[in-house]
Structures are given as C-alpha cells and as structure tokens.
Symmetry: C2
Subunit: 229 residues, 2 copies
Amino acid sequence: MHDAREVVVLRYGHRPGRDDRMTTHVGLTARALGADRVIFPDNAGQSAETVRDITDRFGGPFAVELRDDQKAIVRDFEGVVAHLTMYGERVQDAEGEVREAVGLGGADATGGASTPRDLLVVVGGEKVPWALYERADFNVGVTNQPHSEVAGLAVFLDRLFEGAELDREWENADRRVLPEATGKTVVDAGEDSGDNADSGDNADSGDNADSGDNADSGDNADSRAGTRD
Amino acid sequence: MHDAREVVVLRYGHRPGRDDRMTTHVGLTARALGADRVIFPDNAGQSAETVRDITDRFGGPFAVELRDDQKAIVRDFEGVVAHLTMYGERVQDAEGEVREAVGLGGADATGGASTPRDLLVVVGGEKVPWALYERADFNVGVTNQPHSEVAGLAVFLDRLFEGAELDREWENADRRVLPEATGKTVVDAGEDSGDNADSGDNADSGDNADSGDNADSGDNADSRAGTRD
C-alpha cells in the first residue's frame, strides 16, 4: 500500500481442501487491509485463483504468488519479518517497534523518521518450523489466545497502518461498492451490477463463498424468501 | 467484556461441514477479542463444542449458544444491532456512532457519557435476509471489499473496544500462554504444559486446527523435523 515499502503476507503451510477457505481468507484479508502481495504455498492454487479473481474485479494493485520455497523466503527476506503467533509478544507492546522498524514510526502512515523497509508478515498454518520463531525479527501475538490467523492478520495490519489502509484507493476495478447505511449498491458495472452485487457465482464457489459478504449477497434472493419463513 | 453491557456476536447462517471452520473462527475471534457471548445456528454444534473446549482450557467468561431462531434474535434484540457487511458504512466513519450508541463513547473503553447498552454484532454467512439490513441500527463495512467475515469481526471489535480487549484478564483458565519475543511457553498446566502447548489433539481436529496457532503449535514437532528438508 505504501510505495516506500512493500508489505508481503506469507501464508506458511497449506493443506489442500482442508485449508482452502482459510488460505483464501488470508489472501483476501491481506489485499483488503493494505498488504501489497500475498505468497501462498504452491499447493494452494485454488485459493490463489480466487484472490486473483477478486483483484481483477475489485481492483488492485495486489499480487498473488505461489511458491514452494517458504523456508527460503523467510530466511532470505531482505527486510523485517513479523511472525504472528499466540506465543509472541503482545501486539499492543510490539506494534510501535514494528512500525519503527519498517519506517512507519511517524504520526501518520505515510512514513516516519526511520528508513522505509519491506515487511514480511508470516501467518502460520500447520508446520511452522521453530527456525521461523528464531528468524523472525518479531513474534507477535494478537492476544495470547487461540483464535484465528485471519483475525490476527486483520488486527495486525489495521494497527500497522493505523487505519490508513481503510482509505486505500483501488485501481483497475470494474466495480465498486458504495458504502451506505442501508443498501447494497455496486457501481461501474452497468447492467451487470445486479449480478455482480449478488456475486451469485461466488456464493456458489467453495472459495469465494468464504468472503462472507459475497456469500451474503449471493444468497440475498433466497434470503428475502427466507424472511417469509 | 464490559459488565455495563453485553456484546453478543451472532453468526448468521451456517452450512454444516463447509462452514465449520469459519464459524469456529468467528466464535474464537469473538471470545479472544472481547465479546461476551456468541450465538451459532443450531446446526453448528461442532463449532460450538470447539469454542467451549477452548474456553474451558484458556478461560472465560465466554458463552456459546446454539439457537434456531436467528431472525427473531435480531428482530427482538433489546439493544443496538450492528451488521457487518461490505455494503455498509465505512467502519472508520461509523465506529464513533456505534461506540456512542452503546455507551462506549468515552475516551477510554470503560464507558463514556452515554448509557451502556447491549450490542449485537451480526456476522453474515449465507442467507442474510434483507430484513437484517433494515433492522440493523448500523450496517458497517470493514472496507467495502470482499474479504473475510472473521477479519471484519476482528477489526470491528478491536476498534469498538479501542484495544482495551487486548488487556482482558481470563478467569478459570487451566493454562496461560506467556507472551515472549522468542518461545512457546504455557504456564499453570504443570507437566501437561508440553502437550497443552502442542495441543496435539487440536491440530488433529478439524475445528481446532482452525485456530492457526493451535495447528502451528500442534505441528511443532513435525516442523522441527521439517526444517531438515
């Protein structure tokens, strides 16, 4: 999100089938909350396809990579590595240091006094090697409770960017949702907007249904009927 | 989290099997990030069991309910209803109003000038009826991008409580993770702590593996071996 640095999210470990939805959510959350790129294990092709599809339709820039060398990516990353884990330092204690380390130490998210550096945010799935804890510049716990790697990533990114990611502008989108108190409005999609807003195909797809809002809107027609129950 | 008011998360809609992991993550995220209670559809028994198991081991208070009357819960809720949806008002614009509406309008999260009111946070899965958009006091979008209901819930709660939820104390826990820069330390579990930290059973269970950290720690032994690959 920031030209001065690249924020990359690495999904560490993926079990095809079983982890598809979680891995997809990691990627969609990384995109929506200000990361520049997500790296999935090379066996997560279905999730990569879903995140690319959302980027094609809702905009970017956001890159999705499939890589088979996760250990090397972490080991050789030229920048700051933050590993999200329930065993790590409390995010409220570590976030300032992380921001300072990547040059986001200023009062705003446009860059502080320190030099901008790239940040690799590692989100563990299964099989996170102990070496990752040792290599990481920061092991950070968004609470020290077991919950969700998607939730941890979301809170970490929102705090990293201090909310600036919410004001991000999207490029090359073919549709845009208009925020409103009550309604479901998608613009810049012409007569397709109805279908797009419904994202019917998404609701029917294993992965896209994962983005709750698509599943929600996709089932809107049924839902209206449902209200008559 | 706040005695003055109850914050309840309602998972609206659940597809057994397909949604188990997402629904479990909604519940674990609600618990970890300051909600007092989560309500699942009555067909989400496996997810409820997992969240209760985590609460038994890592502490509470946190309640998990299975209900079959989701429409009535929303319609009859005596308090403020906030529905998280990508079509809603931008969270950065709405959060202040929501906090004020439930009596969290003060400078801290201990309660502001306004009267404390209960809050129902509705997280859509499939089949969210249009009536929900109309009944909700706030339709809130954590970005207007498709991503993850778990991520949206996490950011919403962190902003609702202004981070105060991260300092929550847990009662009746039989184990506690010690936050540290490098390490995986679980205390108050005696000689079981090793197993507990590994949560081997969790890693093997469809649902608990969902809390990435459990899966991570559960596979720690394998991971160390894995580093020799």
